[in-house]
């Protein structure tokens, strides 16, 4: 993206007003690391949103609220019981990119490699949008389409929310890339809530070899209510992912992408089950 102008507002109201006035030409600009992948638009103006006081992580009742301009490095460094986003952010390359990339930037414009949306999807997190007033949208609904297309002029993501993860809720995350510094070939995330020996709730999502982060509801439906037995995972995954549009990249065939997807999804389900049982990985 070639910008023709930039603004550096100091308050949320100023930033929103600028974006509203600019309309289609205005772009919220956080870390700025994604704009090399965005096509040019005449008259594009960058509105820097990193000085609005939206950076920081707070513990809430049962979970966390993460400000939109919190960097991925902040996510890696934060430590608290039930915090899992460090496991996701640490796999987003590189440390230089993590130092400036923000949570809001990672979730507002989706790419095949976007990792944080997967965690928010399976943990049923929330996305807080300000159009003057803050409203929290369920991640399950927020990520059903390209989020940017739903924003009105001047709307900004101000935070995300997510639960603290502890048994009987367990989380699993796995990413495959050619080198640690490369985009994901395939990423999977799972959350399992146990009710005794039963899988009370299963949430599963994948990205990388799919065009955008997606929940895999067919697999979830096949597993929910059944015994907490990892030997059921392979069959449910195999039956549930065949109809998806798997796309091989970087030398992978589509068929290999589907196979890799299956392996990773079984792995993250197993991780989530272990964690839900309170067993160390």
């Amino acid at each position: 993206m070639r910008f023709v102008d930039f603004l550096i507002p100091e308050t949320l109201d100023e930033a929103r007003a600028a974006l509203e006035a600019l309309g289609d030409r205005g772009y919220a600009f956080a870390g700025g690391t994604a704009f090399q992948y965005v096509s040019d638009r005449p008259g594009a103006t960058a509105v820097d949103i990193t000085r609005l006081g939206l950076r920081g992580i707070d513990q809430t009742d049962g979970g966390f609220r993460v400000g939109a301009t919190t960097t991925l490095t902040d996510l890696v460094r934060y430590q608290a019981d039930g915090w899992v986003l460090d496991r996701v952010a640490t796999r987003i390359p590189t440390h230089q990119v993590r130092n400036v990339s923000t949570v809001g930037g990672n979730i507002s414009r989706l790419f095949p490699w976007s990792d944080l949306p997967l965690a928010l999807l399976v943990l049923e997190g929330g996305v807080v949008i300000s159009d003057g007033e803050e409203q929290t949208h369920a991640a399950l609904e927020f990520f059903t389409a390209q989020p940017l297309n739903r924003f009105g002029h001047g709307d900004l993501v101000t935070a995300v929310t997510l639960p603290a993860v502890s048994p009987p809720l367990g989380f699993g995350f796995k990413k495959e890339n050619i080198t640690n510094a490369a985009f994901a070939l395939m990423t999977g995330a799972a959350a399992i809530t146990l009710d005794g020996e039963r899988l009370a709730k299963v949430r599963l999502a994948a990205n990388g070899a799919l065009a955008v982060p997606q929940r895999l509801t067919a697999v979830e439906d096949a597993l929910e209510g059944r015994a907490a037995d990892p030997s059921l995972f392979a069959g449910a995954v195999e039956d549930g992912i065949g109809g998806l549009d798997w796309r091989g990249r970087e030398g992978m065939s589509d068929e290999f992408a589907r196979h890799l997807g299956g392996v990773i999804l079984c792995d993250v389900l197993e991780q989530a089950l272990q964690a839900a049982k309170g067993e160390a990985e």
């Binding site: 023709v4 930039f6 700025g32 090399q36 960058a46 590189t94 440390h95 230089q96 080198t179 510094a181």
Partner: protein, 164 residues
């Protein structure tokens, strides 16, 4: 038509004012200001040869827009040592043969400096994670690790947490 605006950067310890356009990268600004030690490699945030330190954190100057540095502190390789008076890391890089063609080295030095400023005696895992952001096409990294090991021993005053 691109608008030019003034920004102020605390650059290598000196307050400097620059006129920049919105599309200008921090890398382009540094290089047109004579600070050519910061190298232009991939220009898409992958190779790390353009690494500088902004507000204490290593960043890729190629995908950082110049205006992002407004009212921030930026340190480049030129601030680290002199030809006749290299920093311990620069000296170790040369003496341990961590430098071949040299193109990646300014970025590696800045990236490692940011790490050691924060964690004077990092684990081997932290070192490898740091080097993930810097490609070296020549050395195979072994000699660079030798240089890092020696630097950490010299500058932290402790035995490094890993062995060579």
């Amino acid at each position: 038509m691109s608008v030019e605006k003034a920004i102020r950067i605390q650059l290598n310890g000196e307050s400097r004012e620059f006129n920049v356009t919105a599309g200008e990268s921090l890398l382009a600004l540094l290089r047109r200001s004579g600070l050519t030690g910061t190298k232009r490699g991939c220009e898409d945030g992958a190779c790390g040869s353009c690494t500088v330190i902004m507000d204490g954190a290593a960043v890729n100057a190629c995908i950082t827009f110049a205006f992002q540095a407004h009212e921030r502190e930026v340190w480049t390789i030129e601030s680290i040592g002199e030809y006749d008076d290299p920093s311990p890391l620069q000296k170790a890089m040369v003496e341990e043969a961590g430098v071949q063609c040299g193109f990646c080295i300014p970025g590696i030095v800045m990236s490692v400096k940011a790490l050691l400023d924060e964690i004077p005696n990092p684990t081997h895992e932290q070192i490898l994670e740091n080097l993930d952001g810097n490609y070296c096409r020549c050395t195979g990294y072994e000699k660079i690790e030798d240089a890092l090991h020696r630097t950490i021993a010299e500058t932290s005053g402790e035995e490094p947490q890993w062995t060579r």
